[in-house]
């Protein structure tokens, strides 16, 4: 198994935000975590990425217990993530945003990029950054400061940065939040293509059911910090409990 979440509990003071969550993810698999607001999706995401440490339980990645390992070390081991509101380095140019990701990956692997006294990124690093930018349709804005990118471009830049890390798993926190329907469809097919081409496993949290049904192999439904259902898209779709507590409200979409 690539990622195993084992009986994870999280308390915020007396509030029990995650109640014994367990599931696992195979390589190249894609899992969507859904649930109403306040169900604990974000908290679970934080426990997986290393943003916060669960009160009990364990997170295992490639057979290694990473429960207490900080985010940057998890990233080096192959766990990449994006944020709900795209986080990029606004003051840096688009190409530099990707370059720092490539440099970080190389450093994590102990690879020297260029001579010690070198100032500019070495040609192969730049080339890799340019190729990634091209793949995500950012070639025209390479020298633009990320601050003035459109929202969709920022989201794609963030994806490019995550891919520059050559991760084994990509964790996407609401990848299509705040997007227009056309952008949303394009993003979904982009993510699906990237997953296939890079043999990635993907975990997404998402509100948009169309996105979920298109991207996910399996769906994990949460409510009040618990796993309500976990199964294939069809299983979850036909689960009466899920329909009642979650999809019931959006039955026409489902």
């Amino acid at each position: 198994m690539l990622l195993e979440i084992n009986n994870v509990n999280m308390y915020y003071g007396a509030f029990h935000a995650l109640r014994g969550i367990s599931f696992s993810l195979a390589e190249r698999e894609s899992l969507a975590v859904i649930g109403p607001n306040g169900a604990g999706k974000t908290t679970l995401f934080k426990a997986m990425t290393g943003e916060s440490i669960p009160s009990s339980g364990s997170v295992t990645f490639l057979g290694e217990d990473v429960t207490r390992i900080p985010g940057y070390e998890r990233t080096r081991k192959g766990m990449a993530r994006t944020f709900q509101v795209a986080k990029v380095f606004e003051d840096l140019e688009v190409v530099t945003n990707i370059v720092v990701a490539v440099e970080s990956r190389r450093r994590g692997l102990g690879q020297r990029s260029g001579g010690f006294f070198r100032l500019a990124p070495p040609p192969d690093t730049l080339e890799e950054a340019r190729a990634l930018a091209a793949e995500l349709g950012l070639s025209d804005v390479l020298r633009t400061r990320a601050k003035i990118l459109s929202y969709g471009d920022k989201k794609r830049l963030e994806l490019a940065m995550a891919l520059a890390l050559r991760p084994k798993i990509l964790m996407l926190d609401e990848p299509t939040a705040g997007m227009a329907p056309a952008d949303r469809i394009a993003t979904v097919s982009l993510i699906e293509r990237l997953r296939r081409e890079n043999s990635l496993a993907i975990i997404i949290t998402e509100h948009d059911m169309n996105t979920v049904f298109k991207l996910a192999h399996r769906i994990l439904v949460m409510n009040f910090g618990e796993v309500v259902a976990l199964g294939t898209v069809d299983e979850v779709r036909s689960n009466p409990l899920v329909r009642e507590i979650y999809l019931g409200k959006e039955a026409e979409i489902a």
Partner: protein, 355 residues
Amino acid sequence: MTATRTTIGAVLVLVLVALASVPFWASGGVLFLFGLFLINGLFALSWHLLFGYTGLASFGHAGFFAIGAYLVGAGLRFDFPVPYLVLLLAASAFGAMCAYMFGQIALGRLSGIFLAVLTVAFSEIVRKIISYTPGLGGEDGLSNIRRPVLEFGILAVDVSSSRGFFLFMLVAVGLATGGIWWLVHSRYGRAFACIRDNPERAEFLGISLKSYRLLSFVISGGTAAFAGGLFAPWTQIVTLDEIHWLMSLQPILNTFLGGLGSFWGPYVGAAAFMLLSHLTRTWAGMAELLVGGSLLFVILLAPTGIIGGITWLLGRVKASREGSARPERPELVPSGAAAEPRQDEKRYATRVGSP
């Protein structure tokens, strides 16, 4: 190499040549001020490395400066059997070591205003230690610090004269500045910029916030101590004023005055500040008012400092020549060094607020 970079390079060479000529025409008092400019500029640069490039605020930087000044001052005053260069480098290394120890404790969980407050506490501790250490002169400080003779094997360079020591400082400050220039333009600088810009994103790109913040802190502290180690033989007196909180304010003011976010800002600010204090030296009581007033003026009207103001003006001149639209006013904080508080890697830590 871009056209701007070539221009900056040419200006730098001119400035260096001009500075090297100062000891040959200036009076003792003026030369003294030029020397202080070099020291204050480097001191401000060390602070700017931390704040402008890594996004960490230190309000107690005088602590590191004083460590260097007192160590070198005591070494020269009491004739330690150590060559000055070794003394200077050892003092810098000690400053860097103190920064490392402080950073190890503080940087794991703190950044922003909490860190800034802790640095004030640090400088106060250094102050107390120095004031109670016998031999360091207590409130009177160390006076009659002699200037050294530099020994390079068989070659000895006497820099005990003002002229000689000024030229020595020019070389030393130039080398230190060159080192920091390399640092902030290298891949380390890129990692610093990431952390300043968005610590959370940096962490999830696999950049260790603590390691890089610590690196920046250590180099900054070491450089501040280095500046202090030049200060002691230059002024030939070191007192507790060098660790007063006003001294910690100095690099901050110089950086803001010169231009936050531009590499040469601290030096431009230090020069402007030196000029202002010199011009107002006879206005007893009015000097502080004028200095404070001009700072207010710069911060309100040219928030990017002198360099930002000049860049903006040049842009306007160019735009009016080409008949195009007026350039945008400079942003308040160009480097994003002091963006709005946001969640840091630890849930309880926040970044520094707007200046």
